[in-house]
């Protein structure tokens, strides 16, 4: 079942003369339980696409539906509520609040929801066990490592049991070891909890953890690769090859 549907999504920045079309009509469909990666050279519009899909930015044209909700028909307040309850986010620079402890950061999305304390506590315990950050609960972000920060951020994204999680270069600021740990965690979550994940990345290694990878070029969908039953190494090779075809230049790696 398609959890996210996007039809002819266009995004134009600027007006009239200075107008620049960043997304030139993109169609995407993501099924429940998929782990989708978006790749492309810098300037291809991957982050813009993600922002538009996750309702942080408005599409200039086109229809976006998440779980049957048409984003264009929702008002700003409804969108906020929708994001809080249905979507999870993991950003490159963690976006944790420095003044809150790890636990407080993770529970933040529930702070005005009707989820009971006991329920919140149990979700917190499950997630932190899964991500191996349980014992950091009372630490502040400046006391933990980048990888731990990003796992905290992942826990925060998952605490509200979202229907889809968006990641904007979640491994971008991590060393390769922390990145692998995080990605393995994401795969586990994707497989065990059937959480749909969509992430933008420029790193072929990170992309090789996905079940499907979309390639963007100049604001248009260029091609897509399915992992299928292939192992990660083969999939990685395929991704590298596609990247080569796409043009080796302009990668912001």
């Amino acid at each position: 079942m398609a959890i996210l549907k996007a039809r002819k999504v266009k995004k134009v920045y600027g007006r009239k003369l200075t107008a620049q079309e960043v997304l030139k009509g993109i169609d995407i469909e993501v099924n429940e339980g998929e782990f989708v990666g978006i790749m492309g050279p810098s300037g291809s519009g991957k982050t813009t696409l993600l922002n538009v899909l996750c309702s942080i930015d408005h599409a200039t044209e086109g229809v976006i539906e998440i779980d049957g909700n048409d984003l264009r028909k929702m008002k700003e307040k409804e969108l906020s509520r929708f994001r809080r309850e249905q979507l999870g986010f993991i950003f490159q620079d963690y976006n944790l609040l420095d003044t809150l402890t790890v636990k407080e950061n993770i529970l933040l999305p529930l702070s005005i929801s009707k989820v009971s304390k006991a329920e919140a506590e149990s979700r917190f315990n499950t997630l932190t066990d899964l991500l191996d950050i349980r014992e950091l609960a009372n630490k502040y972000p400046n006391e933990i490592s980048g990888g731990q920060k990003q796992r905290t951020s992942a826990a925060r994204a998952l605490i509200s049991n979202p229907s889809i999680v968006f990641g904007d270069e979640p491994t971008g600021a991590l060393d390769s070891k922390s990145a692998t740990v995080l990605l393995e965690n994401l795969v586990t979550i994707n497989e065990k909890r059937r959480v749909t994940i969509m992430m933008v990345t420029h790193d072929p290694v990170a992309a090789s953890f996905c079940s499907r990878v979309l390639f963007l070029k100049d604001g248009q969908l260029y091609t897509e690769l399915y992992k299928g039953d292939k192992n990660r190494k083969t999939f990685f090779q395929e991704i590298m090859n596609t990247q080569g075809v796409l043009g080796g230049d302009g990668y912001d790696a």
Binding site: E76, R84, T99, I112, R156
Partner: protein
């Protein structure tokens, strides 16, 4: 690109940063120039010349104003530099020498100052008219003030602000010389030291803060207690310094430790399940407290000082009427029957009046027994004072219900300074010393209102005794000899006759002068006045003072308010990222704003609240030296101050709203 081009471009580009600094400057110039204009205005100085206090008040006020302005400008420049530290760092990174950067900044400063002083002088000239009108209204004089552009004031303002510009430049040079590149890039992060756990020692210090403030408050309510053997001025000053020190240090500790401590307890209790309001208000306040404690303390103390000064002078102003009633309990009084001419003239002009006569005696009475709290023995000996005694039957003309048995007495005029400092208690007794013996009288009643001029009683209440006892006292030769003022006549008039009667009084009694001879045959004079005359005198005196202090209060208010506002602006900028996160995660603007309201209520409310409390206790400890009414003037002053102050809170909320709106 030349340096001047760079300056102009950066001025244009940085206008959002500059406008704050620019307005701060304009406001300082405006305030200073309009005040100095008034000071040099001939019609105003004519008015204030009559009373030396007025002129001195103006001088003191302008010195104080200069101090506030200096402080304020330095603070604003400091904040401004901090906000631009990255830019300054960048200039150096691309290879500009420190000297060039200083030149660049000085050039900018000069441009800004020229603009600000020009605009400030312009506005100041206009506002000085408004201030002049307020001043006239206050001293209830109806005169037209011609405010002309005073070149003297202009020159003084220019000199002062030129000196300040030099000071600011020195500050700039100093900061840039001292700072390394790394410092500059990190400067905007300084101050709000992040996240430290709160240890038991800090908790203890937090408690100490509360105790220190309470101690200061307690001491202030006992400032004038005559509890020790030696009440000297030195002791009083030591007491005052103790109170000040303990409240100021206490305030700092409260901000630095107690607040974080209390918040930490609340937070710990939530076990990680914070509400959005906690996230937006509680935690940022807690974490910024270390950096903010100093400025919050400063703001609190400044608020307290401003409020105390304004309240006290307003109390004096407000009490003019009741103080006049103490001095002249009736519309008009005369003494020793020196009123023949006055009454004849009144009759000629067909003016009706009611006349009350009081026979007076000056008797040695030991009133120390009446005190609520007994005095130390050493002071007691000096408490046998000449008190003014009058008859019950004279008093009954005004208060017909008062009755006395033998051995009883009644006191009238128990209000004002003495009544506050040495409270009396009904039911206790006093001892009347006559030549032959001592008689005990029980005090059965206390009346606040005055019927005998406080000038005669030296501020203490007059004693009413039975006619029989009074007649007995009259026979005492020593008392007879001492009682040089043996009679007071009080007149009251119909409202519309009052003016005429006052004119007649002025003419027929030589402006209210009465004479008598003391025991040694030396002539003594008594300067009465009409009640209204007395009132106008003090209005004129205190009107000047209240104007000057009001002006200072305004300066204090604007300075503290702006400092808080500036501080909140940079706090808001620092937290912009958090708002971005919150909005991305899915919190609405209005939900975030709700938390910010709470935060701002705290940031502005707590210094105001503690400042109000401080000033309340400060005023309470010494208000009786200034006037006879406490509640109304205090409430009025505090409400106006709080109202104006909240404008800044509102401004800061508006700024936060802007930041939140822009954050996604």
């Amino acid at each position: 690109m030349t340096l001047s081009q760079l300056v102009l471009r950066s001025l244009k580009k940085n206008i959002t940063h500059y406008y704050l600094y620019f307005f701060a400057l304009i406001f300082s110039v405006t305030l200073y120039f309009s005040f100095v204009t008034l000071q040099f205005n001939p019609s105003v100085s004519d008015m204030t010349e009559g009373s030396t206090t007025g002129a001195a008040g103006f001088k003191a006020a302008s010195a104080m104003l200069l101090f506030i302005v200096t402080f304020f400008v330095i603070y604003a420049n400091h904040l401004f530099m901090k906000r631009r530290s990255k830019e300054i760092g960048l200039y150096q990174l691309i290879g500009m020498s420190k000297t060039t950067v200083v030149r660049l900044l000085s050039l900018e400063n000069i441009l800004l100052w020229v603009g600000a002083t020009t605009i400030g002088v312009g506005i100041g000239f206009l506002t000085s008219r408004v201030f002049a009108m307020i001043l006239l209204k206050l001293i209830s004089k109806e005169a037209l003030v011609e405010i002309s552009f005073s070149s003297q004031a202009f020159v003084q303002t220019m000199v002062v602000f030129l000196a300040l510009l030099v000071l600011i430049t020195v500050q700039t040079i100093f900061v840039i010389r001292r700072s390394t590149l790394l410092d500059l890039f990190l400067a905007s992060k300084k101050g709000d030291t992040r996240v430290k756990r709160i240890g038991p020692f800090q908790m203890l210090l937090g408690l100490v803060g509360v105790i220190l403030i309470s101690f200061g408050y307690y001491k202030s309510t006992h400032l004038f207690d005559l509890d020790s053997d030696s009440v000297t001025l030195n002791l009083l000053i030591i007491k005052m310094i103790t109170i000040l020190a303990s409240t100021i240090i206490g305030t700092f500790f409260v901000f630095r430790f107690s607040v974080s401590f209390i918040m930490n307890v609340i937070r710990k209790g939530k076990k990680g399940h914070l509400s959005l309001n906690d996230v937006l208000a509680l935690t940022p306040i807690m974490h910024r407290m270390k950096g903010n404690a100093k400025s919050l303390t400063l703001i609190t103390i400044m608020t307290a000082i401003a409020l105390a000064i304004m309240s006290l002078s307003y109390i004096s102003y407000y009490s003019a009427g009741s103080s006049a009633k103490q001095f002249v309990p009736f519309d008009i009084i005369s003494l020793n029957g020196q009123n023949k001419m006055f009454e004849e003239h009144l009759k000629k002009q067909n003016i009706n009046y009611e006349k009350y006569e009081f026979s007076l005696l000056k008797v040695d009475i030991d009133t120390s027994g009446l005190l609520e709290k007994p005095l130390a023995d050493s002071i007691k000996e000096n408490m046998v004072l000449g008190s003014i005694v009058t008859r019950l039957s004279d008093m009954q003309k005004i208060h017909p219900k008062v009755t006395l048995k033998e051995g009883e007495a009644y006191l009238v005029g128990n209000s004002g300074m003495l009544a506050e400092l040495l409270p009396l208690e009904v039911g206790k007794s006093m001892t009347v010393h006559t030549k032959e013996d001592k008689t005990k009288l029980t005090m059965v009643g206390l009346e606040k209102e005055w019927i005998i001029s406080s000038q005669l009683t030296y501020g203490s209440p007059a004693v009413i005794v039975t006619d029989k006892f009074f007649d007995k006292l009259v026979t005492d030769t020593k008392i007879k000899k001492n009682s040089i003022w043996y009679k007071q006549e009080g007149y009251s008039f119909e409202e519309n006759d009052l003016k005429k009667a006052q004119e007649i009084y002025e003419k027929t009694t030589n402006g209210g002068t009465f004479t008598t001879k003391d025991a040694k045959g030396k002539e003594r004079k008594f300067f009465a006045s009409t009640q209204e005359g007395k009132k106008n005198d003090s209005l004129e005196l205190w009107g000047n003072v209240i104007f000057a202090t009001g002006f200072l209060g305004l300066a204090f208010l604007l300075a503290t308010g702006s400092i808080l506002y500036f501080k909140q602006m940079s706090d808001a900028e620092d937290e912009r990222e958090s708002y971005t996160v919150l909005r991305k995660i899915g919190f609405t603007k209005s939900e975030i704003m709700k938390g910010i309201y709470i935060k701002q209520a705290f940031n502005f409310g707590v210094p105001l609240l503690i400042g109000l409390l401080h000033s309340y206790f400060a005023v309470k400890s010494g208000w009786m030296l200034f006037g006879s009414e406490l509640t109304t003037p205090l409430i009025v002053t505090m409400s106006i101050y709080a109202l104006l102050y909240s404008v800044f809170a509102w401004l800061s909320v508006m700024y936060y709203r802007k930041v939140v709106n822009e954050s996604l």
